[in-house]
Symmetry: C2
Subunit: 623 residues, 2 copies
């Protein structure tokens, strides 16, 4: 960023995977900037470059040259990969950093975004550099035969079919490229041509009900070249999946329109990603898409009506390979889109991708893996057996149906503590508070419970300070009184608390049903994986105190960020990972929550706040 | 046909494969009608029903009940198939008859059209009757998994992929069809769904430069349900292939338009065929298309520029399987179109289909197989080795570039004899003469040569009757003088004769080059196969007398009609035939005529009229 006089005053620093951004003056270290924007990076030695606990990786942008301390701390390879000590490094331009979990002071997170893949690329689509002899009267072989025979002769590849657009363009392109090019092959099919020595790109997409994330990958080394997210444009036709399905059932002629919305959204993402790295969408020859079952169906153009009606049957569960052009995606016209398998009507391929990325599906367990969202999917893995449920947790944790709820955007209260009867909060981008997002809502519920404003049953007590009656219901004022008018105060109402109780009871009940179906107790759970955007930012301790999650030691919880996107990236570059996804999905036993024994009883009990265990539908206190 | 008073006076009778049509009064037998319209059907016993030499098959329409003679002549199965004695049968409605070669008095023809296939259907696409259990809460399996597992369980079919349109329609169709349907499978792919017990249809297309023929086939028994031909709509953009290619080179933006013309033409044919048998184009799940290389390329949308430039390289030789929707064909959306392989820039898949249909490619030989057209392809088969050339014979034999030439349509002179200095001719549909078509042109050249009006060098003599000078050139008057004004006379001009000499020399040279390349003499040729519409109707004797064909006994010639269409039909119903076509095409060695030794010398010598042999570029008289 340049000041008015043209001299550089401060740079913008992106911290991944937390997705926080802050301004950093050129005289400030990256560590100082992190602390300023509220990101907890270790600094055991106090920023003297001795403890090496503040390692970060510079993903983009220029920074100061390595100091002697850093030359000690890293190998030349690590320095080449951008690894630095945050306390020793000063920005020279805007930067993007990846903060690895071991450098964070907060609860351990697996960094899924921004971190390069660890899987060995094993590409379903490959590029073969090929040079051809020109035809002559004595060798008037057809252009395609020339191509097929070169692949066979030089690479021992036997291709049977050639994509129609390659057939149509081959003769002209070979002649204009001087009889050399890259031949792009998938299975036994020639799907495209690329100019000599152009990078082969791939696309991974995580299709959420609310957000869509896309990653542009260099297929030859598996590196993420660019990543970008947008709000799902279908939100205009309904915030949650059920309302979108209802919309389609009511006006079936709209189904094409609703599909077009998401396809155009992804195409916009593709264009932005390509512009960012100076590539052409025609260089993208493979794609993997994950999403919940309904988003999967809406994207592919499958019917969704039966998803909303018992027995909630998907049109398609198995993994699909669909031509990009049949889906309307503007990437290389011969390319395919691989869609990871779904499990059930409300357990989709994003959950499968999460299990794939975290690797927990192969663990001995018992491990509980949770994707928290409007719909929350939970799997329990035990001795290679996977059982899954889907819980209708509702939009409360995304700020929906909450009076002053909002999405995680600038000005949202994302952390909240009540100490000495005083409210301390932190907002996104340190902006003046305008509402409260999921993690803040969770903190608030926890703090109000701990401070006795709300009882275990969820009732707001009348006789507390900051509690008032307004518009016929009781509410607790988080921000207001002094500096705001009543109607723009930020409050938590009795109705909000009830909404949150239902949401957290749904999740806890799902976990409980899985434990009972597997004859497990809570204490046997070795690890709880929490995935998804909301899951990344919550304070797990708050979730434990309100009884949303089983009462276990904090170190058994792992927040893994957008593991679904990570799973999509893994599947993009590895055929083995695609096969693993299919096999793990086939192994999942789905339980319809409503049909589980003790379901109603458990649901009622888990709506109570506090730490407790559930046994046979009864609550037992802990601590 | 009804007279003005509403009583039936005469019916229209179509005779196949000659494609002639005539009126038949209800009191006339089919034999009488045939003789009346000039079709030579045997009648050794004089029409008394004793000799059984006038067998015909009624393909469509109603006729009188079988007489006792016919009950003697045929088995009940044969009668059920429509077999009758022409002398014993009277029409009750308009009819379509197939006249088998053994019933014809003219030179033996293999009837390709109208005759049912002899190959055992061995379908690349199959329909599986399937019934499914309905989903329930205890069995909420995805609809596609249900489908795939039923195929696997009941038929031991392992399908990996499902066509996108099937995926999109499956859930609704299964529910509306009460959980039973036919699943249409191709290789390991589900390509469509058909209602329970609907016939599976196929389409065979012969794509000629001038004519397009299409056949609708019942895939389960290989029977032709309907056949129809149209003029190629691309004629509007150029009568011959080179002018169409030139058109595209000059305005590349027109290539889509020229492709659209042929695709729309075929779609019209598909609709007509389906209407004729009361079927739906969506029931057509497989198609085979053959044509010359340029038509193949224009249809598929391949570039043609390089076809017109030395070394005349096709974009594609090998057999192709292209999705019907990628070509724009309006048949079942998941279906594929199989295109038989091409051989070279000017030897296309129609020639391959002809070799396939006649079976000569497997013969010991030597056999010469000729497709006569604007471009004439000739193959010589000897001990399993096939050598082919392409001859630019030009449009003369289709009536092009000939002053009074016309296509084989009503009023065209199709036969001509000169006896006692008098001209006898026969026109199509016995209409007043308006021009002269290919077979008539050939006869005329022969008769003028025999009667001495034209000398062996092709010069029209000045001193003969009916020879005159008109508009600065010499011409022979075929029709005129008495009954017409000069400008509407039908004549053969000196320029016409030169055009015909070039055409027939091209063909004869092609044969000669093949013989020399194989160290064969003309006399060793065991059989000459003549295919194509023009080849079906020519008088082979005339062709011998003008030296267009080698001077061999008449019984070594076989006219096989539209063998390319027959080959397409065979490939449609038989995977083995498709494989045979690929293997025979790969076996053909193509010789570029211009590069052959003695080419120029041979071409000059073969432009002479008369019976002769060629040895080392020299002409030797025979007879």
């Amino acid at each position: 960023m340049k000041s008015e006089k043209g001299t550089v005053s401060a740079y913008t620093i992106d911290f991944e995977p937390v997705g926080r951004r802050g301004k950093c003056h050129k005289s400030e270290s990256l560590l100082a900037c992190a602390h300023y924007v509220g990101i907890g990076i270790n600094s055991i030695c106090g920023g003297t470059g001795v403890c090496h606990s503040c390692k970060v990786q510079v993903l983009r942008g220029n920074v100061s040259r390595p100091t002697s301390k850093e030359l000690e701390a890293f190998t030349p390879e690590e320095l080449a990969q951008g690894w630095r000590l945050a306390c020793q490094t000063y920005p020279l331009t805007d930067c993007k950093l990846s903060v690895p979990p071991e450098s964070m002071t907060t609860l351990q997170r697996i960094q899924v975004e921004g971190k390069e893949l660890r899987v060995e690329p094993e590409l379903p689509v490959r590029a073969y550099q090929s040079a051809f002899t020109m035809p002559s009267l004595s060798n008037p072989k057809a252009d395609t035969d020339r191509l097929i025979e070169e692949l066979n002769h030089k690479y021992h590849i036997h291709c049977n079919t050639i994509e129609i657009n390659v057939l149509r363009s081959l003769s002209l392109q070979l002649r204009s490229w001087d009889w050399r090019c890259q031949v792009i092959v998938r299975d036994d099919q020639v799907i495209g041509l690329n100019p000599w020595q152009t990078p082969l790109l791939g696309l991974a997409v995580d299709l959420g009900t609310t957000k869509v994330a896309a990653y542009l990958i260099d297929m030859n080394n598996g590196r993420t070249l660019a990543a970008k997210g947008i709000m799902n444009p279908q939100i205009s036709l309904g915030e949650d999946i059920i309302s979108r399905i209802t919309h389609i059932i009511k006006s079936p002629d709209k189904s094409l329109k609703i599909r077009k919305l998401i396809v155009e959204g992804i195409n916009d993402l593709i264009n932005s990603l390509c512009i960012e790295v100076g590539a052409n969408p025609e260089q993208i020859f493979d794609a993997v898409v994950v999403g919940n079952t309904a988003m999967h169906h809406l994207f592919v153009g499958l019917p969704v009506r039966q998803l909303a009606l018992s027995p909630f049957v998907p049109a398609v569960s198995r993994a699909l390979d669909v031509k990009a052009k049949d889906l309307g995606l503007c990437i290389a016209s011969g390319s395919y889109v691989h869609l990871l398998p779904n499990v059930a009507g409300f357990v989709g391929s994003d959950h499968v991708a999460m299990l794939l990325a975290t690797g927990v599906w192969q663990a001995k367990g018992p491990i509980v893996a949770i994707d928290i969202g409007t719909n929350t999917e939970v799997s329990l893995i035990r001795n290679g057996k996977i059982t899954a449920v889907s819980c209708a947790s509702g939009p409360a944790f995304e700020g929906g149906h909450i009076k002053d709820g909002m999405r995680a955007a600038t000005g949202a209260i994302e952390r909240l503590r009540i100490a000495d009867n005083k409210i301390q909060y932190q907002t996104i981008d340190k902006a003046p508070p305008i509402g409260i997002c999921g993690s803040g809502i969770l903190d608030t519920l926890c703090q109000l419970f701990l401070s006795g404003v709300i009882d275990a049953g969820g009732r707001i007590r009348e006789d507390c300070s900051r509690v008032r009656n307004y518009k016929r219901q009781r509410e607790f004022v988080l921000v207001g009184e002094e500096d705001h008018k009543k109607q723009s105060d930020i409050t938590i109402t009795q109705r909000d608390v009830r909404e949150l109780q239902l949401a957290k009871a749904a999740i806890r009940t799902g976990i409980q049903v899985l434990l009972e179906a597997n004859n497990c107790t809570e204490n046997q759970i070795r690890e709880v994986i929490i995935a998804g955007a909301f899951g990344t930012y919550i304070d797990v301790a708050s979730a434990l105190i309100i009884g949303m999650l089983p009462s276990l030691p904090l170190d058994r919880f792992r927040q893994v960020g957008n593991a679904a996107g990570m799973g999509a990236k893994l599947a993009l570059v590895s055929s083995t990972k695609r096969a693993e996804a299919q096999s793990l999905a086939a192994r999942i036993k789905y339980i319809e929550l409503g049909t589980a024994p003790n379901f109603n009883q458990t649901f009622i009990q888990t709506s109570y706040l506090g730490r407790y265990r559930i046994r046979e539908g009864k609550r037992e206190g802990v601590d």
